[in-house]
């Protein structure tokens, strides 16, 4: 029988094999923890935008929405960001399992832990206001992202239910607003008694959302007018964002 141990030692000496340094293993372990941390941070950013969207959804529209509560809620769930959150949590789980003792935890425990960490981080990021900037950056720069909010935008295309959205094309001398809705239809809006949210005033090219009632085939009486991109929370305080520039997502749906 060969002395394998002796042969191995001989081979180690002949081939000058040396143990990898402590720093090599330190770097490897640190990299795994760093990738885990990065996944949690990215998951936190996704969670923060989801929190921002849920918190700022126009829940008060429910009284105008005549379908089920569930259908209404489903309309405002930030699917994409929740998907990102889950995706990054799974990546975080992958790296967590590769840490020294991560394998000892059950997969479900580790995934739930990753999601909870990301959600906690998400609330922290939301408090800083970064989530709104992330969402705005996505809306301004990623056409695909604008498409994902199409359905929630189309809630406003229900004049029979008292909801209408579009772009002001002109203002008549008697104060009647001419508006082109998201489907390109022309409307005459009576806004004489309307409450303007977000310190708005009627100017051509301004995009607005209206709550009121349809009075004729192309006539609508507005009770409340909101900026297209304003936020419900801010509107309530009379500080809604107003942007003069055309909302591209609206263009795409016309």
């Amino acid at each position: 029988m060969n002395d394998i141990s002796k042969d191995t030692l001989k081979k180690i000496k002949e081939q000058r094999i040396v143990p990898r340094t402590k720093n090599y293993f330190l770097l490897r372990r640190s990299t795994v923890w760093m990738l885990f941390g990065l996944s949690i941070v990215l998951g936190s950013l996704a969670a923060s935008v989801a929190v921002f969207q849920i918190n700022n959804a126009e829940w008060d529209l429910f009284k105008h929405y005549r379908h089920s509560v569930l259908e209404f809620i489903l309309l405002f769930i930030p699917y994409l960001w929740i998907l990102f959150l889950i995706g990054f949590s799974i990546i975080a789980f992958y790296y967590f399992r590769r840490t020294e003792s991560g394998y000892r935890y059950r997969a479900v425990t580790a995934v739930v832990l990753s999601i909870l960490l990301s959600v906690a981080g998400g609330f922290a990021v939301y408090k800083t206001g970064l989530s709104e900037r992330i969402e705005t950056a996505f809306e301004d720069n990623i056409p695909f992202y604008r498409g994902t909010s199409f359905h929630s935008r189309m809630v406003w295309m229900a004049p029979e239910k008292g909801l209408l959205a579009g772009k002001i094309t002109g203002i008549a001398e008697d104060g009647t607003i001419k508006l082109t809705d998201l489907n390109g239809k022309e409307w005459e809006i009576n806004a004489g008694d309307a409450l303007w949210r977000g310190r708005l005033s009627a100017v051509p090219e301004l995009e607005i959302k209206l709550i009121g009632s349809k009075t004729d085939n192309n006539c609508f009486t507005a009770k409340e007018i909101r900026p297209w991109r304003g936020r419900q929370k801010n509107q309530g305080m009379g500080m809604g964002r107003q942007r003069g520039k055309m909302h591209q997502g609206m263009n795409s749906s016309q």
Partner: protein, 201 residues
Amino acid sequence: MSTLQHTQYEQMTDEELVEHSLTNEDAFYSLIKRYEPVLLRYIHRMTSVNREEAEDILQDIFIKLYRNLNGFDTALKFSSWVYRIAHNEIISQYRKKKQAQYSIELDAGDDESRSLLNFLSDTMSVESEYIDKEKANLVGAVLESLAPKYRDVLVLRYFEDLSYDEISDILRKPPGSVATLINRAKDKFKKIAVKHKLESI
């Protein structure tokens, strides 16, 4: 290496030998000498390779062990870490040579095959003292027909006599999953054993 030095090394724990191995190759010799028979037997149980091939695999395992000495996590038992490296190397060799058979070979009248069969006794009335060469071979054949993940845990549990926690450290799976895997493996083993009329021998 002097006899005195060898005696000193023999009295050291695995962990102490690891420390010495980093600066002294002779300490590493004592360390691997300790694990040579255990790992050689493990390789034979996990594969159907001949002795020469098993020795080649063992040498690769020892060299990998040497290269990674600084990566030994002292939170683990050294034996668990060695088994983990051995297990990974066997799997890696198996993937490299897929055409080679990956099966179990048991020694005739193996005590461990008796231990594996003990859990069958409730349902199959196996008299462990009558386990003979034929039965051991049949146990080997049954194990061979199991999926590698089931075979792995049965070998580690019943042949290497390791605890669930040790198997968890070797396979890098949660202890709960190891327990589930062992139970499933036992069920599969039972079904195949019944099918092959293991109790009739």
